[in-house]
């Protein structure tokens, strides 16, 4: 589903090809034939993107040996592009400090070329800390009004996080909801029969290995406060449920070690309970586990396989997989286990994932290969999100309910991809080494 693209991206793609393939464009190179209207930046929904100019930041004081005045806006521009809401015009020279005339001239130039907004970043470094004052301007107003100003500060080694937080704030200014750049993605990386849990920034950099169990680890999922990741592991021999602490030096903790399967963790929205699959009572059923007390509450009672719980964001309902009515299908029940209802669907369906917005349940449908589908919780608006190539499965929602990460083997080995909720903008996120599966998008970092 390709729509018109802004000329800036086309121009860059052409120049990339001409300059021998320096990799920049976040999108694959576009064909040369384009509509004459160069500002037809249309989103999948038909809404138009906001053209925002992000020149290099202005160094107000301190030294900048790492060229943060270029790097920070560069990453920020990537974040704004990724949001799907902006078309970013980046990389122009920094506006001189304390020079209102130069600022006005720069903005006038951007406005003439079609920019709707501009960002002026004023950077100060003090020792090992960097501060940026972000000033956001509306270039469509006659006087090019400044509409927001905010300061952000980080240690220099975490300068990327400055970019992410600023980008999220800019998205907030324009949409009323923060962006998702300051998030992480957990996943399992396979090598030699071993699968360990990793965490990386949402844009694919700074991967950190979280487990060294030398065994098979599955299904990492973030707690709502981002402090814990629950996962199933064979580190103890049998498949038990554990949690690791993502940002604290605390040992891995056993959550459930019953006989049989202990799998498919799903944190409740209040962070106190984990829904999970246990087969200790004869066959796989769904239970709620109180994380601090260990108390269990059984939700399903059926000879069928009942597994893969996924909470609605209100915490009142849980979607799950059951083969009680034939092949595996998606069902929904109240969080007490009552009012079980089957969503309309055909075929063999697993991995329901309830959007943080509550309006959509993504799931995996097997018709030969796997593909991702979506449906409303009331069963309406059933639609396909991917149509190959290869197998596409394991969707996980970003906290904005607009982006998803999923795994696909369309390029050979399984890697993580991202896309928008309408199935557009599918882009590869990882490239190994080894197979990368089970992506889990974190909530926004506190």
């Amino acid at each position: 589903m390709r729509h018109g693209r802004s000329v800036s991206v086309i121009l860059v793609a052409v120049l990339v090809a001409a300059s021998g393939g320096i990799m920049w464009s976040p999108r694959p190179a576009q064909p040369q034939q384009q509509p004459a209207d160069v500002w037809l930046n249309v989103l999948g929904t038909g809404a138009k993107k906001i053209n925002i100019a992000v020149p290099d930041f202005t160094l107000v004081s301190g030294t900048d040996p790492y060229a943060l005045v270029k790097q920070v806006p560069g990453v920020l521009g990537n974040d704004l592009n990724f949001s799907g809401l902006f078309s970013v015009l980046a990389g122009t020279p920094a506006i001189p400090a304390n020079n209102p005339g130069a600022l006005k001239e720069a903005w006038a130039g951007f406005a003439t070329s079609g920019a709707h907004a501009a960002l002026h970043g004023l950077m100060t470094t003090r020792g090992d800390r960097v501060e940026v004052e972000m000033r956001l301007y509306d270039l469509t107003s006659p006087e090019q009004r400044m509409i927001a100003t905010k300061k952000f500060e980080m240690p220099v080694p975490q300068a990327r996080r400055l970019s992410h937080r600023m980008a999220d704030d800019i998205v907030l200014q324009f949409t009323g909801e923060p962006g998702i750049a300051d998030t992480k993605i957990a996943y399992t990386g396979a090598a030699g029969g071993i699968k360990e849990v990793y965490v990386m920034d949402y844009d694919g950099v700074s991967a950190v290995k979280m487990t060294t169990t030398q065994s098979i680890n599955l299904s990492p999922v973030w707690s709502p406060d981002t402090r814990s990741i629950a996962f199933t592991s064979y580190m103890g021999g049998y498949p038990f449920l554990y949690r690791l602490f993502a940002f604290e030096k605390r040992p891995i903790q056993l959550l459930a070690g019953y006989g049989g399967i202990n799998s498919s963790p799903a944190w409740g929205p209040d962070g106190k309970q984990v829904a999970l699959t246990l087969s200790k009572d004869g066959n796989p059923e769904i239970y709620l586990l109180n994380v601090s007390t260990g108390a269990l509450r059984r939700l399903t009672n059926n000879a069928a396989i009942d597994t893969e719980p996924s909470w609605s964001p209100t915490g009142r309902e849980i979607a799950f997989v059951s083969d009680r009515a034939g092949p595996a299908q998606i069902f929904v029940m109240d969080a007490e286990g009552t009012n079980v209802r089957r969503l309309p669907q055909t075929g063999f369906n697993t991995q329901p994932r309830w959007s943080p917005k509550g309006d959509t349940i993504a799931f995996t449908s097997r018709q030969g290969n796997h593909d991702l589908w979506a449906v409303g919780p009331d069963g309406s608006n059933l639609r396909r999100l991917t149509a190959g190539p290869g197998s596409n499965e394991g969707a996980s929602w970003a906290p904005n309910g607009r982006h998803l990460v999923f795994q696909s083997n369309r390029l050979g080995s399984y890697q993580l991809f991202t896309m928008l909720v309408d199935g557009s903008e599918q882009h590869v996120l990882t490239k190994g080494p080894g197979e990368i599966t089970s992506g889990a998008w974190s909530p926004r970092l506190p």
């Binding site: 070329s113 220099v156 599955l218 580190m235 056993l254 997989v321 590869v428 190994g432």
Partner: protein, 209 residues
């Protein structure tokens, strides 16, 4: 906020741009850093050095029927309703292959014992009854084509189906433990019917007592 039409192309200084963004790759290789992020002076909350959590030694107690906390700081959970389970089984690593016990295989998405596999299990049962001082671990496996979690459940069904058949042939139930590996331990990785069929299996291991 209507966009302006015009013939002016917005010139982007590409080389400069690419320099900035080479440092900020959109599609980087996943680099594994096992050391914490460098130079974290006063980390903001929740971004303390993201060091990998050291793996605790696996719980020294055998798989329990009640969850046991591994971290001293965790409150001891109340004992759940005891389930009528056999004594806690030995770790899988304490079991070994035995050439007298042959694998059986299953149809796609199925866990019922096919007639030809029943004959194999009859032979396995005979050996097990003749060698009663062996504990048995039955593994259930799936081919790669399902999703990971559902296949854990299907693998367990296959292992239990096998166990139930052996018990029906007179093997004492309290000798047998089952474990599912879902699709996580394939014998082969080709995307062919032959390989898939090979992976859809139940495998027996024994531990002499």
């Amino acid at each position: 906020m209507l966009p302006r039409r015009g013939s002016v192309l917005f010139v982007v200084p590409l080389l400069a741009l690419s320099l900035f963004l080479v440092g900020c790759p959109k599609r980087p290789a996943t680099q594994v850093a096992s050391a914490p992020a460098p130079g974290v002076a006063t980390p903001p909350p929740a971004m303390a050095a993201p060091a990998p959590a050291p793996a605790t030694p696996p719980p020294s107690q055998p798989p329990a029927t009640t969850p046991a906390p591994a971290a001293p700081a965790a409150p001891a959970p109340p004992t759940a309703t005891p389930t009528p389970a056999p004594a806690t089984p030995p770790r899988p690593s304490e079991f070994a292959d035995n050439p007298n016990l042959k694998d059986i295989h299953f149809d796609f998405d199925k866990y019922d014992i096919r007639p030809e596999d029943a004959k194999i299990l009859d032979a396995n049962a005979t050996w097990l009854k003749a060698n009663p001082r062996n504990l048995v671990l039955i593994e259930g496996h799936c081919d790669e084509r399902g999703t990971a979690e559902y296949n854990l459940a299907l693998g367990e069904r296959r292992a239990k189906s096998t166990m139930n058949y052996l018990v029906g042939q007179g093997v004492a139930a309290n000798r047998i433990t089952v474990i599912s590996y879902g699709k996580e331990r394939p014998l082969c990785s080709e995307k062919t019917e032959a390989c898939w069929a090979r992976n859809r299996r139940a495998h027996h291991l024994v531990k002499a007592q």
